[in-house]
């Protein structure tokens, strides 16, 4: 997707240029507009700026099965700050969390954007879609999440999946997934989809992904499963400041032990940093204050598929279902090894009984040869 296609509708500036006006004429026009709106000199540049950018890209932000913490995380973004995005960069035409209108007025706003900006708006989805039954486990305005998603996706330029809910189903899709919570990419095909997983994703990662689309007019480069490489190409483990302790084999053995106080590696208390891709160690959270590991708790892999079912948070290996309480691969392996050893012992004994004759013959043969010497 190129700049051209994303901002297909000409801006005022482009329109004027297209009609043969110069940049100077454009500035004059802005000055006039400013005077008309009763603004001071300082307002002109702002107007010019706005006109160059207008129309702001319309965004429809849907909420399905979620906890709204992706929205919450988004409003924590420090650069750019959310107010600037919402006022200057995009036109957030629908979001149940912040919009003034409710009910019919809210639906109207969404319908208007879908009609007026067909093929141009960015669709953001927070939450998974319950596919069980007729979709009754998530209804808005009497329509099911699935119906709403399919309708809004039809005219979307691109779809941004916020958080693990939209990307992999998150907590409601954990076993036994009673509502058949389903991520967006399994429902919508044939649209550019960007996944921004995390529970929630870092605010600046969300803002950064959105701003990439707004600023460069293209989708960011994605990794093998559709996440922006910019934020999801490195493991937590590879950017973790506790890594030297890992390499040195110095581990926290239990929480709040002496090693914990000294900031040793959290690997043995279940840190999933070695198999988790996110920017926590690099960007950190809430404008660089800390991230889970820095605050003493292991990473539990919140950007990864099925992370809720990837075993207990405080163990490195998940339990193996069907083998009783706390059976891990190693415990089962040990048992298998024991059984094997017993089997071998039994086999060895049996060999000496059942094949005694054969072996005796061999020995006999050998002894005879020896005697013959």
């Amino acid at each position: 997707m190129t700049t051209e296609t994303l901002t297909k509708r000409p801006t005022y500036y482009e329109e004027l240029r297209g009609k043969g006006y110069s940049r100077r004429d454009f500035m004059k026009y802005c000055t006039m507009m400013a005077a008309f709106m009763g603004l001071q000199q300082s307002g002109i540049a702002q107007i010019a700026d706005a006109m160059k950018k207008t129309p702001r890209i319309p965004v429809i932000w849907l909420h399905f099965q979620e906890c709204t913490c992706c929205s919450e995380s988004f409003i924590r973004s420090s650069h750019p700050i959310t107010a600037d995005i919402v006022l200057d960069q995009i036109s957030l035409d629908y979001t149940e969390t912040l919009m003034a209108a409710s009910g019919h007025q809210a639906e109207e706003a969404m319908q208007k954007t879908m009609k007026d900006h067909y093929g141009e708006y960015v669709l953001c989805v927070e939450g998974s879609v319950p596919m069980a039954g007729d979709g009754e486990y998530c209804c808005i305005g009497g329509r099911s999440a699935k119906q709403i998603l399919e309708e809004t996706a039809a005219g979307a330029k691109a779809i941004l999946c916020w958080g693990s809910c939209a990307c992999n189903g998150c907590v409601q899709a954990a076993k036994p997934n009673p509502t058949q919570a389903t991520p967006i990419h399994k429902i919508i095909k044939g649209k550019p989809i960007v996944k921004v997983p995390g529970c929630p994703p870092i605010g600046e990662v969300m803002a950064g992904t959105l701003m990439h689309i707004i600023t460069f007019g293209t989708l960011p480069e994605l990794d093998g499963i559709g996440r922006p490489k910019a934020f999801y190409s490195k493991r937590i483990h590879d950017s973790c400041y506790r890594r030297p302790f890992y390499d040195a084999g110095m581990f926290v053995e239990t929480f709040d032990d002496e090693n914990a106080k000294k900031g040793y590696c959290l690997y043995k208390v279940g840190c999933k940093g070695p198999s988790t891709y996110n920017a926590c160690g690099i960007m950190k959270w809430n404008a660089g204050v800390s991230y889970p590991i820095q605050s003493g708790h292991g990473c539990f892999g919140c950007t990864e598929e099925k992370f809720w079912d990837n075993g207990p948070i405080y163990a490195r290996m998940p339990e193996a279902g069907g083998f009783g309480i706390e059976a891990t691969a190693d415990k089962i392996g040990m048992v298998a090894l024991g059984v094997t050893a017993a089997g071998i012992a039994a086999h060895a004994v049996a060999t000496n009984l059942r094949k005694k004759e054969i072996v005796d013959n061999l020995i006999e043969e050998g002894k005879e040869s020896e005697k013959e010497l």
Binding site: T68, R76, A101, D134, E136, G142, D257, K261, S290, G296
Partner: protein
């Protein structure tokens, strides 16, 4: 003839709430509140490691993030009889206070304000006059005429762009908006300032829990070890950051939130007689300097009030089989023992069974089941929970701090105490408790420092962390006072796994459907008799519903 109107989605809340209301003679005669999204976390938790539960239930809600995690670790600690170190208590209390200030401020400015503040009218404000008004109500430094005129320009530019974004299709110009343009402009200014501020205060969670939303908790204490001589643990630098943030938060609450609240409320005193509802209030209590296990020292004392009898606060027992019960007569679930039964959460069941209309639909069948919320009752009574309940119980228990803030506010607004039982009272109570909490937060901070100074650096008690130290069977309950009200989780542990896990959540109390006797819960009851000027623009419904600060993801879970 009554006219049935539907508002779905109710926006500026968390989650999926649908209100259906009968309007008769310009007033609501009946209201129905429905939660239309379910995730079934209680079922998903079955068979899992109880030490992990906090992370799952934390994801019940990202708006009141942390409160479910807190209730969860407490429930498990209660079941396993784990006593956490004092530092962990203080840290949890500080995080709790942080969550309160954040949630209440965001609710006031970003979720509730647009019911009272007309953005479009702010374009007409005189920046100079605005500045005078702002300076007369508060010392907040950002209140010069230039500040307001720049803001107005920005707003004008925004409106002129023709793309109104989140403000599109609001009820602007509705006769129910009463603020002068200048006060509206202050409202808009602080909407934006609060948006910037809120991302700062949460850093307290980031220090102790590694991130926000959804900071990390730990059964047995907290994972953030104290190492005052180590760069990667809680040390003087981290603590100073927390201290500064708490002080700034208190400033914002005192100098922006509260003055705005009073200023706006003074134009809407008529709402002191609308939206009262049940008159029954319930508080589980929380925030003790002496540890969660000592309810007598809770700063939010526990108690129940029936029929507005603030002077008669009753005790509440979360373990008692017949005190707290959940009903599903009008909820899309079924109980093994029949749908009219009331179950104490330790025996709770969550078996979903949808019997509503097939989507797309126009109306719900409100005579039958019509919501994914269960209906909780205390000794059979419908109860309101939340800031108003807390303020009334604190007041009723004769706590000086409460008397002081309540009485001074009533006199500043020149309204009688009855005005508390209303939409306005609920919104005011939220501000008042935010003010109390802002103050307590610093007290807890001082206690944490004092304790560390005394040489106690323990942050977690890991003695009973390993499952082989647990009894074969255990039951626990953990409670807190979430921003929206009384919250508790009940857990049954068998053979090291969760055998049953039940959450009864503040918004479940308030937003639930009727019970088997047809008695309404708090939202429905509060909406009754609300005047509606224009059936097509029912901003009045939003005012009352928003005064509860709905959270439907919480309510259903």
């Amino acid at each position: 003839m009554a006219n049935r109107i539907v508002i779905d989605p109710i926006t500026r809340i968390e989650g999926h709430l649908r209100i259906e209301a009968e309007i008769k003679d310009g007033k609501i005669s009946e209201a129905y509140s429905a939660g239309t999204m379910v995730r079934m976390l209680e079922e998903i938790l079955r068979g899992r490691d109880p030490r992990d539960a906090w992370a799952f239930v934390g994801r019940v809600c990202g708006v009141c993030t942390t409160v479910h995690s807190l209730a969860s670790v407490r429930a498990v600690e209660d079941a396993l009889d784990i006593v956490i170190p004092p530092n962990a208590e203080h840290v949890r209390n500080i995080m709790f206070a942080t969550q309160y200030m954040h949630d209440h401020v965001v609710h006031f400015y970003h979720l509730h304000a647009l019911d009272w503040v007309d953005i479009v009218s702010a374009l007409k404000a005189d920046p100079k006059k605005t500045s005078e008004i702002a300076q007369s109500i508060s010392n907040w430094p950002k209140s010069s005429p230039g500040y307001f005129s720049d803001l107005q320009k920005r707003l004008t530019k925004f409106v002129e762009s023709g793309q109104l974004g989140i403000f599109a299709n609001g009820y602007w110009g509705h006769p129910a908006y009463k603020l002068p343009p200048e006060v509206n402009l202050i409202g808009v200014a602080h909407y934006l300032e609060a948006l910037e501020w809120q991302k700062e205060i949460v850093k307290v969670h980031t220090v102790f829990g590694g991130k926000n939303p959804h900071p990390n908790y730990l059964v047995g204490g907290m994972a953030c070890s104290i190492g005052i001589d180590d760069a990667s643990a809680i040390n003087a630098e981290r603590l100073q950051l927390v201290h500064r943030l708490l002080k700034q938060a208190k400033e914002f609450v005192e100098q922006v939130y509260i003055p705005d609240l009073i200023a706006i409320a003074s134009f809407y005193k008529d709402w002191g007689a609308i939206g009262g509802g049940l008159g029954n209030y319930l508080v589980y209590g929380d925030l003790s300097p002496n540890g969660y296990r000592d309810p007598s020292t809770y700063k939010f004392p526990a108690g129940a009030i029936l029929n507005k009898k603030v002077g008669e606060v009753m005790d509440v027992d979360l373990r008692e089989d017949n005190e707290i019960q959940e009903f599903i007569s009008h909820s899309w679930y079924e109980y093994a023992g029949g749908d009219d039964a009331g179950l104490h959460p330790w025996k709770g069941e969550t078996k979903v069974k949808y019997t509503g209309p097939k989507p797309p639909y126009d109306f719900l069948d409100v005579n039958d089941k019509y919501s994914f919320l269960k209906t909780p009752r205390w000794k059979g009574n419908a109860m309101e929970v939340g800031p108003l309940a807390r303020v009334l119980v604190g007041y009723g228990r004769g706590r000086e701090e409460y008397k002081e803030v309540v009485d001074s506010t009533l006199s500043a607004l020149d309204v009688p105490i009855e005005a508390l039982f209303s939409t306005l009272g609920r919104t005011a109570a939220r501000g008042l408790e935010a003010k109390l909490v802002a103050h307590w937060a610093l007290e807890f901070y001082d206690m944490l420092i004092a304790n560390i100074k005394n040489g106690d650096t323990r942050m977690a008690n890991m003695e009973r962390f390993k499952p082989d130290t647990w009894p074969k069977e255990a039951k626990g309950v953990g409670h807190t006072e979430a921003p929206r009200g009384a919250l508790a989780h009940w857990v049954v542990i068998q053979n090291e796994k969760i055998a049953n896990y039940q959450l009864v959540v503040p918004s479940t109390w308030n937003a639930s459907p009727r019970d088997k006797n047809g008695v309404s819960s708090a939202y429905e009851s509060a909406l009754k008799n609300t005047p509606i000027a224009d059936d097509h623009k029912p901003v009045e419904i939003l005012r009352t519903v928003h005064s509860f600060d709905p959270c439907l993801a919480c309510a259903v879970h």
